[in-house]
């Protein structure tokens, strides 16, 4: 095999010549080959004698930019221009575990936070060894040497040696202890803190990036599954005669999630599934619909629930409040609707399993597949691919789509790629929970905020996850019910949140910002209602509630100032503001909105974010814009309704998302602070819905207490 051909095959994650390629490489530039020798001081970086720099990335890239952010941090301390790095996706290995959570996964907006110190140390360790190698070669003290983009130089302007030329010598040196590795000070950073081009640009504009959908191990078959038409439905019986008669169909078999049709190509599998006859027992979901849940949950919300937080004394406050409100907020089930529908490929053969999948949950997927197949985890190999969006859906609590692929492939002897249609994906559950809250809140006689009392009803996410159980057992309640409410930055002296956990058959999952997108809406909505009750505007009233929070105040002020809060707007346009903290970052957004009849148009969104320190400021802007657009799609029209256990919406035709002509101008202002590093992928989402709804109130006097907005403006 020629080297080029080989590089290409590695690039598409193939099993070549009977040996499984251990690491799936997504070469940023064509022609990446294995160098004659690699200096490999740790699991993350290799320095080749051919001048190559390779970084192994244990995280999943789903758009959030970790494929660039982590390499930047490592490259900073290694002192190499990040653009020179080639990135590989790591195998599943404890070396790539989250430092504290002891599992390899990507989520919770914490990849950068949790790996920042580690990446710096890994890069600096390599640089220290390369400098020591040069010092030994030239017989000079290390202090007389410096580095410059992949080269060790003598400070007096004398000799220079590339890292490549030092790689073999450096490899012979002992790896220094952490204490003997000196990190740069932030002031001398060359790359971190400055805009850096994404390292996945070229593969993604040429169609060469290999997503889970695109893997091509030889002999691979495609499969689709006739899935439960309603939640909890079970296969009663099926007749595959006609399906098997479809040209290209190879096999039809029952698996836990339905009946799989395996074929030579996707089209044949789809035709086969159309011809398949399945009888379902749909009794489990028969009585579950959004309307019936609503009726039941409204009743529950009026009753005392499990207390998640209780500060001050809401009972007294309620009795003493001069003015108060008693309102109900409702948020729908939401599908993640990743651009790339779920899929996973598996080869099960000779007691071993190879997986190719775009997943946020590498180590859990691997372990659950091993369990499902009854083989040791050591016999399972998982090749992470690019993810066509994640938003939480690809961090499945039960590794549903990966385990399913292993079930389908089991016994086939050839790799099988299980692909989901958009309808499979959208109707397949794992939604953001449906949520109804009753909130009572009030003011003192002089219009000051006095208390906030929320009772939330819904099926919390953590409880549905294996990692959730120990947390819930310890606390005595599921904290995900209250996320974003119990810990609001708004300083209510009296605050109480209670919950009623439900157990409907519909499956839920974390959806970009998890509880924060629910409670960021409820809390900000109520705060806005209180502001009106106090005769103040939303900005001034929030300043009072945040008086002891200087970081939040700075963010709120930055958003208001840059939006021109209080200044005249074009005719028919109105402002609304909201602020929310999540994943360690504080975001405030001002929406400029006009309303004509049922038509809501968002013209401009001004955002301010404090994420501590922006590693790649350009990507901070991109992520906040992304989070705003994602949240705005949901706020305006996003809703999965359940009818007799079935999800009504199935495609972008009835689950509309924002398109080019509807996207507002979105300005993002980074508020630098000395706060700790905060997350980025999610925190921009929670404030957008309440900011838009506050603006709608300013425009029309109507309070939107039920999302999507389209459902409330009916």
């Amino acid at each position: 095999m020629s080297t080029n051909r080989r590089a290409f095959l590695i690039g598409i994650g193939v099993v070549a010549a009977g040996t499984t390629v251990g690491v799936v490489v997504a070469p940023r530039l064509l022609g990446h080959r294995k160098p004659p020798f690699d200096f490999k001081p740790n699991a993350f970086v290799r320095i080749g004698t051919d001048g190559s720099f390779t970084m192994t990335l244990g995280k999943a890239e789903m758009g959030q930019g970790i494929y660039t952010g982590m390499p930047m941090t490592l490259a900073e301390e290694l002192d190499v221009n990040p653009q020179r790095l080639t990135i590989e996706f790591a195998p599943v290995d404890p070396a790539f575990n989250h430092p504290f959570l002891k599992m390899q996964f990507t989520g919770g907006s914490m990849s950068t936070i949790s790996t920042y110190d580690q990446m710096r140390l890994m890069g600096a360790t390599a640089r220290t060894m390369l400098v020591s190698a040069a010092a030994a070669r030239w017989k000079v003290p290390v202090e007389s040497l410096a580095t410059d983009d992949g080269t060790v130089v003598e400070r007096n302007g004398g000799r220079r040696a590339t890292y490549a030329s030092l790689a073999e010598d450096a490899a012979k040196l002992p790896v220094p202890a952490k204490e003997n590795v000196k990190l740069k000070d932030r002031g001398s950073f060359k790359y971190v803190g400055k805009p850096q081009k994404r390292l996945d640009n070229v593969v993604k504009v040429t169609g060469r990036a290999v997503f889970g959908s695109d893997v091509q191990p030889p002999e691979m078959l495609k499969a689709v599954i006739a899935r439960a038409p309603s939640f909890g439905a079970k296969v009663k019986s099926f007749d595959a005669t006609r399906a098997r008669a479809v040209k290209g169909v190879v096999d039809v078999k029952q698996v836990p999630s339905g009946v799989a049709v395996i074929a030579e190509n996707t089209w044949a599998a789809l035709k086969g599934r159309e011809a398949l006859q399945v009888e379902w027992d749909e009794s489990a979901g028969q009585n579950v619909s959004t309307a019936s849940l609503r009726a039941e949950w409204r009743g529950l919300a009026a009753k005392p629930g499990t207390v998640g937080k209780d500060v001050g004394n809401v009972k007294n406050a309620l009795a003493n409040a001069a003015r108060k409100i008693d309102v109900e907020y409702e948020l729908p089930y939401l599908a993640h609707a990743c651009m790339e529908p779920m899929n996973a490929a598996a080869l099960v053969k000779d007691g071993r399993c190879t997986l190719w999948v775009g997943t946020q949950n590498q180590s859990q997927d691997l372990n659950l597949v091993a369990q499902a197949l009854g083989i040791p985890p050591a016999n399972v190999e998982l090749h992470t691919q690019f993810l066509g969006g994640g938003f939480g859906r690809r961090a499945s609590t039960h590794s549903d789509f990966t385990v399913e692929a292993a079930h389908v492939a089991n016994g086939v002897g050839r790799p099988v790629h299980v692909v989901w249609t958009r309808e499979d994906d959208m109707r397949g559950g794992f939604y953001r929970p449906y949520s109804i809250s009753r909130v009572r809140a009030g003011l003192t006689a002089d219009g000051k905020p006095l208390f906030y009392h929320q009772t939330v009803v819904g099926k919390p996410v953590l409880k549905q996850s294996p990692i959730g159980k120990p947390i819930i057992d310890k606390l005595g309640f599921d904290p995900s019910s209250f996320e974003g409410a119990a810990n609001t930055l708004y300083g209510f002296q009296n605050l109480r949140v209670e919950s009623h956990d439900t157990d409907e058959v519909v499956t839920n999952l974390w959806w970009r910002s998890v509880g924060n997108s629910i409670h960021g809406f409820v809390v900000n909505g109520v705060v806005d209602e209180l502001a009106t009750l106090a005769g103040q505007d939303g900005y001034a009233f929030r300043r009072e509630l945040l008086a002891t929070q200087p970081r939040a105040l700075a963010v709120l002020d930055a958003a208001a100032k840059n939006a021109g809060w209080g200044q005249p707007l074009p005719a028919g346009r109105h402002h609304g503001i909201a602020l929310h903290e999540s994943f360690g970052s504080i975001v405030a957004e001002v929406a400029e909105v006009s309303v004509e009849g049922r038509n809501v148009r968002v013209h401009r969104v001004t955002c301010a974010i404090d994420c501590g320190f922006a590693i790649n400021p350009d990507q901070v802007v991109a992520q906040v814009q992304s989070a705003v657009i994602y949240g705005l799609s949901a706020a305006l029209a996003g809703e999965i309704t359940i009818d007799k256990g079935r999800a009504v919406q199935g495609n972008f035709t009835d689950y509309p998302v924002l398109r080019m002509s509807e996207v507002p101008q979105i300005d993002v202002h980074i508020v630098e602070s000395d706060g700790p590093l905060g997350g980025l992928g999610e925190p921009g989402t929670p404030p957008i819905a309440p900011a838009v709804c506050a603006a709608i109130h300013a425009a029309t006097g109507q309070r939107i207490r039920r999302l999507p907005i389209a459902a409330s403006l009916a």
């Binding site: 064509l30 789903m62 758009g63 959030q64 930019g65 081009k197 996945d200 640009n201 070229v202 593969v203 993604k204 504009v205 040429t206 169609g207 060469r208 290999v210 997503f211 959908s213 695109d214 091509q216 495609k222 290209g248 190509n265 996707t266 089209w267 044949a268 035709k271 609707a337 990743c338 651009m339 790339e340 529908p341 690019f386 993810l387 066509g388 969006g389 994640g390 938003f391 692909v419 958009r422 350009d618 990507q619 991109a622 814009q625 992304s626 989070a627 705003v628 657009i629 994602y630 495609n651 972008f652 035709t653 998302v657 924002l658 398109r659 080019m660 002509s661 996207v663 101008q665 979105i666």
Partner: protein
């Protein structure tokens, strides 16, 4: 056997005439740059050019394009040096990237036919392409930049 002309090459495929071009490209010809997103012409991820016009390959039966010239994202080359790709890189448009082949094929068709697209032109040409990562603001800016690169004869 159906003969397709894809990216300037004649390719023979053994396919059901009803098979959408999308699956023929992806599964039979192994051109995986073109993506599936909805299957009902609602998202644009599968956009390719047929005789220079952007079409949704997920609803285009292979038999209907047997005599046409088909161009996929792969036809723009592997280096990213087409003016649209250059603009995309310059402005760091991509996020997850899954929609981008379709976005770029729609954008190429636009700038080929319109040397100076306005915001309204961009809305009209790009509204069929969904991006769940919300890269729209940068796509808009990059289309304008690509048109500029083209007007300058390919020089930046």
């Amino acid at each position: 056997m159906i003969t397709l002309n894809v990216n300037g090459q004649s390719r023979q495929i053994d396919a059901d005439p009803e098979m959408p071009l999308l699956w023929a490209l992806r599964d039979l010809l192994k051109l995986t740059g073109t993506k599936y997103g909805c299957g009902v012409a609602a998202c644009g991820a599968c956009t390719v050019h047929v005789d220079g016009q952007p079409v949704r390959s997920c609803v285009t039966p292979v038999s209907s394009v047997a005599n046409a010239k088909i161009a996929t994202i792969e036809s723009l080359g592997v280096k990213g040096d087409h003016p649209v790709q250059r603009a995309w890189i310059e402005l760091d448009v991509v996020q997850c990237g899954y929609c981008q082949s379709g976005q770029i094929m729609s954008a190429v068709a636009l700038v080929e036919s319109n040397a100076n697209p306005t915001d309204a032109d961009i809305d009209a040409a790009m509204d069929g392409n969904i991006c769940r990562c919300g890269t729209y603001p940068r796509i808009r800016a990059a289309i304008k930049r690509a048109a500029e690169i083209k007007r300058n004869g390919g020089a930046a």
